[in-house]
């Protein structure tokens, strides 16, 4: 027997070359391999996530004044946030907006994915590309584009209405603004959601369809009872991402504010509020508090959604 049987010796011949003596350096190197693999991620995570988050939190505990410099106020900014009607106004608006736009958008995406997957649509590839193309357009460009289309003076809809003596469309009015923004959002993102659902549908084994057809199910029943439940994880994931994205909506109100500044004030959405506080108010400390406030709202909404999803899965 070559391997030493002395107490504490590592029987692995590759490690304990020298009989009976453990090399601390080698053990250290072997034990540290996981950390070496983790290091790039942890470094990037720290520098681009943890450290800025920590700095923002520290910022939110102070107040920089025009007279008197920087002052520690502890929870002062957060107390101000709790009573800030502008912030809660914006939160209410995006939550109500999300309750309408997210189901609508995801529902449309699901519908399109099911249609294209059903095999009954000619030129399915063309439709897939067509629905996806708006996603390739940057958000700012899309908002500018639609802003022009909505325009009350030069927009084509307004001009057509004048031509045919119809009442002017009120896209950028108080009541029309949220649906207009919703339209831009749905136009932009339905395509990419559809592609994700379509990919999920591809992973369903085809023999399930054969079995269902043999049992007498038509296309619609297959879709509702087989396809949709099997891509439920994809639906849930896109649901969460949509909630997080929608509650942070910024680009569309920011661009449209230039066309209708009286409708979109400074606090139309919480993110826009934070931006204006920073850009014109220079209140960076309060902005940090507002950002954490918005983050808290998003966590609450996402948790609620996940809770509902889990309840449905239990049933």
């Amino acid at each position: 027997m070559q391997a030493s049987t002395r107490l504490g010796a590592d029987p692995n011949p590759l490690v304990a070359r020298r009989r009976g003596i453990r090399s601390p350096l080698r053990l250290l190197r072997r034990g540290s391999i996981p950390y070496i693999f983790l290091a790039p991620f942890v470094t990037l995570f720290s520098f681009f996530f943890l450290i800025p988050l920590g700095y923002a939190f520290r910022l939110s505990l102070y107040q920089e004044r025009m007279i008197g410099g920087t002052v520690f106020v502890g929870s002062g900014n957060y107390q101000q946030l709790l009573h800030d009607s502008d912030f809660w106004d914006g939160v209410q608006r995006v939550v109500l907006y999300g309750l309408v736009v997210i189901p609508l958008g995801l529902g449309l995406a699901l519908l399109f994915a099911l249609f294209i997957d059903s095999g009954t649509v000619p030129f399915a590839g063309l439709f897939r590309l067509g629905f996806f193309l708006p996603y390739a357009i940057p958000g700012v460009v899309a908002a500018l584009l639609w802003g022009y289309l909505y325009g009350p003076a030069f927009g084509p809809f307004a001009q057509a209405a004048t031509q045919f003596n119809l009442p002017q469309p009120q896209f950028l009015s108080d009541s029309g603004m949220l649906p207009s923004i919703g339209n831009i959002s749905i136009w932009l993102y339905t395509g990419s959601n559809m592609i994700i659902f379509f990919a999920a549908l591809q992973s369903i084994p085809a023999d399930l369809y054969e079995a269902a057809t043999m049992d007498g199910a038509n296309g619609r029943r297959i879709a509702w009872h087989i396809k949709v439940p099997l891509i439920a994880p994809a639906l849930a994931m896109m649901g969460i991402l949509s909630i997080i994205g929608t509650l942070q909506i910024f680009t569309e109100p920011q661009i449209l504010a230039q066309l209708a500044p009286d409708v979109i004030g400074t606090h139309y959405t919480p993110n826009l509020y934070a931006y204006n506080l920073a850009a014109t108010g220079q209140q960076f400390n309060y902005v940090a508090a507002v950002s954490f406030g918005l983050g808290a709202v998003i966590i609450v909404c996402s948790s609620l959604f996940l809770g509902i999803v889990n309840r449905i899965r239990m049933d």
């Binding site: 004044r65 025009m66 003076a153 606090h267 014109t280 108010g281």
Partner: protein, 437 residues
């Protein structure tokens, strides 16, 4: 010591020795020749602004001031975000210009934070008499002078003479008459309105100024805020009534729909720079407009206010405050500069010496040959010189717009909106460390 440190030490010493040697060599040569050519390198200052023709005026300055070179950067204006770049540079503490163009209403804000140089130490006191009180009062806080006026913008009332004649309308001299005229016009032609609400154009505070309401008072770090009193409610209710009866339009200023609205209004409350916008947009009605004094709250008592106007200031962290002060004083006070400015733009002159009948009497084709600058000059005399802006106008303007427009559209009550504005401004002032009286 490491190799690198040793390297830097030697280069630094050589560098210093080099400069000393150069100075020793150059200085006597200047003294020996004893001529007027400066022997030191020209001082370069940076100027941030957006006024048209600044490049031409700056070139003239450089020709007449050989020791100073000016690097002019056009930072763009009219977007409302002109000062973001400056505020960011101030916060960073670097990248600041020596001289900067600031509108009248932000001078107190930058002065309060100690970012501007008091020009009285560079001889600015002597130029006070060259300007009318209305505009000079905007440059000063007590005995400190924070800028030299580039221009000023008294307001007047522009109206379509042809429409007024067509519908037998009287030119209003009071706001009550304005309301009556608005109703009469809308009855005669439902597609036309008398004007665009100045509140939507961001001019609510200007209207308070015209009503001789002292909304703000600043004294060092003490401010008093008074935007919810009877006069403010009167002004806001007046415009809210007109808007809700659809007698005036509500286009926000500087938007495409506002530009095209000049063809569907019969009048406009216009500042002296006002021609820039309606002239291209309302080209079809050029020649049919006339100018009259602003309607007032008390019959027979003329009153105007100013909308806009800019100044040139020197930043406190400037490396060359003396040269920068020389620049800002020359650009706005020198007769040579004013003459060139008149030649290039024919704008409403800021110097009293240039406000001669000959210059002011230039007929304006858009206004059917009327000498509009004479009227603006007379209006300037009725501008209340006691009006002050508060030291956080950028924030204030934003809040005013939000609250006032909501009341104008009827979404909130007039006194509720003004109370909210008052509370918001007071708490902001307190948060910023000001004492609020």
């Amino acid at each position: 010591m490491s190799v690198m440190a040793r390297f830097y030490r030697t280069t630094r010493t050589t560098g210093v020795a080099g400069v000393v040697a150069a100075a020793v060599m150059l200085a006597p040569s200047g003294a020996m020749h004893g001529n007027a050519v400066p022997s030191k390198a020209p001082v370069t200052i940076t100027m941030w602004g957006w006024s048209p023709h600044t490049e031409d005026l700056t070139k003239l300055f450089e020709q007449t001031h050989p020791g100073i070179k000016v690097n002019y950067v056009n930072t763009g204006g009219g977007t409302g975000k002109e000062y973001t770049k400056l505020q960011v540079a101030l916060k960073a503490g670097k990248g600041l210009p020596e001289a900067v163009m600031l509108e009248h209403y932000v001078l107190p804000q930058f002065a309060a934070s100690g970012s501007l140089v008091d020009l009285s130490q560079y001889g600015a006191k002597s130029i006070a008499k060259d300007f009318v009180p209305a505009v000079w009062s905007q440059m000063i806080q007590g005995s400190k002078i924070y800028g030299t006026p580039l221009d000023y913008a008294p307001m007047a009332f522009a109206y379509r003479k042809d429409l007024f004649d067509q519908y037998h309308l009287k030119v209003p001299t009071t706001w009550a008459e304005y309301a009556q005229t608005a109703a009469a016009l809308h009855k005669a032609d439902p597609k036309m309105v008398l004007g665009n609400s100045p509140l939507d154009e961001g001019n609510f505070l200007g209207m308070l100024w015209q009503a001789k309401d002292q909304a703000f008072h600043v004294n060092g770090t003490t401010v008093s805020i008074n935007v919810a009193d009877g006069t403010a409610q009167k002004v806001l209710s007046f415009w809210a009534n007109l808007v809700q009866q659809h007698l005036v339009s509500t286009f926000p200023a500087f938007t495409p729909s506002w530009n095209s609205s000049f063809n569907s209004v019969a009048s406009w409350i216009t500042p002296s720079w006002g021609l820039v916008f309606p002239q291209p947009a309302a080209a079809k009605s050029s020649g049919k407009w006339r100018l009259a004094p602003l309607p007032t709250w008390t019959k027979g008592v003329p009153s105007s206010a100013m909308w806009g106007g800019s100044a040139y200031s020197v930043m406190a962290k400037s490396a060359h405050p003396k040269e920068a002060a020389e620049y800002v004083i020359w650009m706005n006070d020198s007769p040579k500069a004013a003459a060139l400015q008149q030649k290039l733009s024919g704008a409403f002159p800021v110097l009293k010496s240039f406000s001669t009948p000959k210059v002011l009497g230039t007929p304006s084709p858009f206004f059917g040959g009327q000498a509009i600058n004479e009227l603006y000059y007379k209006a300037a005399a009725s501008v209340d010189p006691h009006w002050q802006w508060n030291p956080f106008m950028i924030y204030t303007n934003q809040e005013v717009q939000a609250d006032v427009i909501a009341a104008e559209k009827g979404k909130t009550g007039v006194s509720a909106a003004l109370s909210k504005l008052q509370n918001d401004l007071v708490s902001y002032a307190k948060n910023q460390g000001f004492t609020v009286k």
